[in-house]
């Protein structure tokens, strides 16, 4: 009896998977987003709403994340970024099966020095283990805020420029650059360029996102990818993160495809 039940579930699962693949096949006639970012908001509210034990919402949220990653990589989205609001979200790392199956390289973005030693070491291990994967990228933003990212990138650019000047100076080709006597005022205002800053962003390894999805109807970005989201479609479904499913993913893709031509044009103008 149990075996029949299991068999039925298996057949149902296969049918759902087949249907999903058919839908993806149809959708792939249109543009496929290269990079989708998620703000996983609502785990705690879900726990309260369903009157679960503390931490249960995060467990369900984690399964939701695994499903969403599966949809993204199946559809052909190369870069996925997730914003880990609280360290609770981060206590488990992505399932090995998904990482191996889709050739996912895992990157942790943010001010990792702020993490505790065991957490940071676990993150470094995960990054090392998946370093050779090249089919897709999963960026996990932890200890991350956009303003910190921008400030950090500015600092790194300044350090790089300082090193350049020091080297030039010591090789005798400095023209007194340390005292900046050799530069025109106009040049001094443009020593550090936009490109220099952008290459030092925590998220420099990924292109700008095409879609940012934040669950729980929240319409703000909460200091997430503010720099990179200039031409990005922002979608705020009303479901809580643990409740997110294929329906919301599908709706996001359809809307993205509707406005893709417009956003692409904006991107080229900026």
């Amino acid at each position: 009896m149990e075996r029949i039940g299991e068999r039925v579930i298996q057949i149902y699962g296969n049918l759902v998977s087949l249907l999903r693949k058919c839908i993806f096949c149809i959708l792939s006639v249109g543009p496929i987003p290269n990079h989708i970012a998620f703000i996983m908001d609502g785990n705690r509210r879900f726990t309260k709403k369903c009157k679960l034990m503390k931490g249960a919402g995060h467990k369900v949220g984690f399964s939701a994340l695994m499903s969403i990653l599966k949809y993204c990589y199946e559809f052909g989205v190369r870069y996925v970024t997730v914003y880990v609001f609280s360290i609770e979200n981060f206590k488990r790392s992505p399932e090995e099966s998904i990482v191996n199956r889709y050739g996912v390289r895992v990157i942790f973005s943010g001010n990792l020095k702020l993490l505790s030693e065991p957490v940071r070491l676990a993150a470094e291990r995960a990054m090392l283990a998946t370093d050779k994967n090249s089919k897709a990228v999963l960026s996990i933003c932890v200890a991350y805020t956009s303003t910190n990212e921008i400030m950090h990138a500015v600092q790194e650019s300044c350090e790089e420029k300082w090193d350049e000047i020091t080297i030039l100076n010591s090789s005798g080709a400095g023209y007194g650059l340390i005292s900046l006597g050799g530069y025109e005022q106009d040049e001094m205002d443009h020593l550090i360029k936009l490109n220099d800053i952008e290459k030092h962003m925590y998220m420099a390894a990924s292109p700008d996102p095409d879609i940012i999805i934040r669950t729980s109807s929240e319409t703000r970005l909460s200091n997430f990818l503010l720099w990179q989201s200039a031409n990005c479609y922002l979608y705020s479904p009303s479901v809580l993160w643990p409740e997110i499913g294929f329906r919301q993913f599908l709706w996001a893709i359809l809307n993205f495809q509707r406005i893709h031509f417009y956003l692409d044009k904006q991107r080229q103008q900026s």
């Binding site: 149809i26 959708l27 006639v29 249109g30 609001f85 609280s86 805020t145 956009s146 303003t147 910190n148 921008i150 400030m151 500015v154 600092q155 650019s157 300044c158 350090e159 420029k161 300082w162 090193d163 020091t166 340390i178 900046l180 001094m188 205002d189 443009h190 020593l191 550090i192 360029k193 936009l194 800053i197 319409t219 703000r220 970005l221 909460s222 200091n223 503010l226 720099w227 989201s229 200039a230 031409n231 990005c232 479609y233 922002l234 979608y235 359809l254 809307n255 495809q257 509707r258 406005i259 417009y262 956003l263 904006q266 103008q269 900026s270």
Partner: protein
């Protein structure tokens, strides 16, 4: 099949737009009780992002008039290409209920609305300029030791540097996007950390009722600790 899918989506949106237009009409006639009293004081600073190709000054002035009627005191008008910036004088002349926002203005209650004009160059390019300001400061401070990889700059120093180059106005509480998509189009990143972003549709089909609804939704939002 794909085209059929998207035609269906278009029809869905068509139906949604008709429903929204009807609701907006009822709101502007004051027939929906919920929207009758707006706690406008919760809205300290409002940003409006407009699609550059859609920037008809007559529509912009009408929108400003609606905002003035609702009691909004401080507005930032943004478009990517800076078309609104170029029409700044014309807008201020035609809409006499506003003055230009001065950077050192504190957000107090004033008789006239303050208007700020911003464009894409006030975002990323301003950050690059601010980076140069900070770099110069560090060099001029005469420190001869190289960077140790520790934190040299703080976020508040960054904020100050941005103010010096004219790229750091107040942080808007609410940002309304008038364009084809819900997208902030490069509004200065430093200022929209916790800004609620709402999509209003194209400027040419703007409605007074939709504006009221958007502001009402904002006033009802409860932000969690940690935002």
């Amino acid at each position: 099949m794909w085209h059929l899918l998207h035609v269906t989506i278009h029809l869905c949106y068509f139906a949604i737009n008709i429903a929204n237009a009807l609701e907006s009409h009822l709101i502007s006639k004051g027939l929906l009780r919920r929207y009758k009293s707006l706690h406008i004081s919760k809205l300290q600073y409002l940003a409006i992002v407009i699609e550059s190709e859609d920037c008809r000054t007559s529509n912009v002035i009408e929108l400003l008039q609606w905002l003035a009627d609702l009691g909004v005191k401080h507005v930032c008008l943004y478009d990517m290409e800076g078309i609104l910036k170029k029409s700044k004088d014309f807008i201020l002349e035609k809409f006499d209920g506003a003055t230009l926002f001065q950077e050192n203005d504190v957000l107090l209650d004033q008789p006239l609305m303050t208007l700020e004009f911003a464009s894409f160059s006030d975002g990323k390019e301003a950050v690059a300029k601010a980076a140069n300001v900070l770099f110069m400061k560090y060099l001029k401070s005469g420190s001869t030791s190289s960077y140790q990889g520790e934190q040299i700059f703080t976020e508040s120093q960054m904020g100050e540097a941005l103010k010096t180059v004219g790229g750091n106005g107040p942080e808007p509480d609410l940002l309304l996007v008038y364009g084809p998509a819900r997208c902030h189009l490069g509004f200065p990143a430093w200022r929209i950390r916790y800004t609620e972003i709402q999509h209003m549709g194209p400027l040419k089909s703007m409605k007074y009722g939709s504006l009221i609804k958007a502001i009402y939704k904002f006033t009802m939002v409860q932000q969690n600790y940690g935002k």
